[in-house]
Symmetry: C2
Subunit: 258 residues, 2 copies
């Protein structure tokens, strides 16, 4: 059967943390058959070149403080485009299921009986620290890692962060840079002033910046280096493996020896 | 300057969770310039086809109970091959820094002054559940996820699991299938008998199997379906989003109404 009306279909695709080469083969295959690409603010626009020239590309924004479209509007656009054009690729920064509201999008598509699937992406929660040579796990230093959003829907800090500060896990906070001082206070109140911390802005991209410090000095280190959003925060002994931390350690040792 | 002795170089590459299309473009580029590929047990062997035909491919094993080579032997092989052949790609299942001892390998290479870098891979800790339509985070159900190894170096359960059972995070346990009964008991002792649990074997491959149950029924569900290693365990309310869980819920509701 041939006709001009394509079957609607939606594929949520993880675009990875920024570096265009951190896209998967599976994601590229989906992009190559896209009639429409709806892409987020943190997606590397080079990836759009994998989609056919004739495909429609729509920027739907979304990052802290720049809600170009609400989630509801994105959901509706996605379904409207699928119904009218066929295959919609919903290209999302990082991995669609890590604070990406990806499941809500799949669910919305299902409510319209539109077949929808998800393709995982490289998550910045692991890869951004990794490309700074900081492993989220390391024998003798950390047997687990805990990934937490810095800001929950009511704008407050997640209650999970208070539990996290008590744990021995490596803590990775996404979208938390605006709450860094508050997060540092939570860790201080657990007696972790000297715990190593890394803050990495725009990881894996040409704009990458990194601050390496401890809980009690990280706020100033981030200010000194003019680090802002988007950024991830990593708190844990594994951060001591970063070459820059060695210098901090030597200063402490000198001070400690008086 | 041209000569026949290549500069030694090591690239740790994440091969992803199993599906050969879940490899990144960056990983393929590294494989294409490999003189030697050292690959693990959980790596999809199709990926070796990206390496030059003339390259040396060495299986170095490593999975629970099948330590073909010790970590020390792998480290030494890696450096020996780099010194004698040039570019060694160390192809590792999932992501090299998620319980992969990847940092130890980078560190070992550095001790021989061999340039070594890492390329992140799709981690099964996020992607395996995702491809079963279970998101590790979801508004209203989970604001964080905590990834823990089931077995630490002394063979015991990680102490982090006891803290995890108290938390509201989605808990993902890697390499923990042999300790499932013990893990279930820990969650029961926190009053979480009815918490949804998924166990997924060989996720993203043709051999994939899944058991969906609750803390108090998961051990039997896994037995019934003959699920074994390699598998991941996901504990959390997000598992209730899996279509199979709806049936479990309906049975509970009927029983509850008496």
């Amino acid at each position: 059967m041939t006709n001009n009306i394509k079957e609607p279909q939606i594929t949520l695709v993880g675009a990875g943390p920024g570096d265009a080469d951190l896209i998967t083969v599976k994601a590229i295959k989906a992009l190559k058959t896209a009639d429409v690409v709806l892409y987020d603010a943190l997606v590397n626009e080079e990836l759009l070149n994998y989609a056919p020239e004739t495909s429609v590309k729509v920027y739907v924004g979304k990052r802290s403080g720049d809600h170009t479209y609400s989630q509801e509007a994105v959901n509706k656009l996605m379904v409207d485009y699928a119904t009218n054009y066929g295959h919609v690729v919903r290209l999302k920064g990082g991995d669609p299921f890590v604070f990406g509201r990806g499941f809500e999008e799949l669910d919305f598509a299902a409510s319209y009986n539109i077949p929808a699937t998800v393709i995982p992406g490289i998550s910045s929660s692991i890869a951004v620290a990794e490309l700074q040579n900081i492993p989220v796990t390391h024998r003798g230093l950390s047997e687990s890692f805990w990934v937490i959003t810095g800001t929950i829907s009511n704008g407050k800090i997640s209650p999970d962060l208070y539990d996290a500060a008590k744990s021995k896990a490596t803590i990775v906070v996404l979208m938390g840079i605006n709450k860094l001082a508050e997060i540092a206070e939570i860790f201080k109140s657990e007696g972790k002033s000297k715990l190593p911390v890394a803050v990495i802005q725009s990881g894996t991209t040409v704009d990458e910046k990194v601050a390496i410090a401890t809980v009690d000095t990280i706020v100033n280190a981030v200010k000194d280096q003019n680090i802002g959003s988007p950024a991830i925060i990593v708190l844990g002994e594994v951060v001591s493996l970063h070459p820059k931390f060695q210098l901090i350690k030597e200063i402490y040792d000198v001070v400690a020896k008086g």
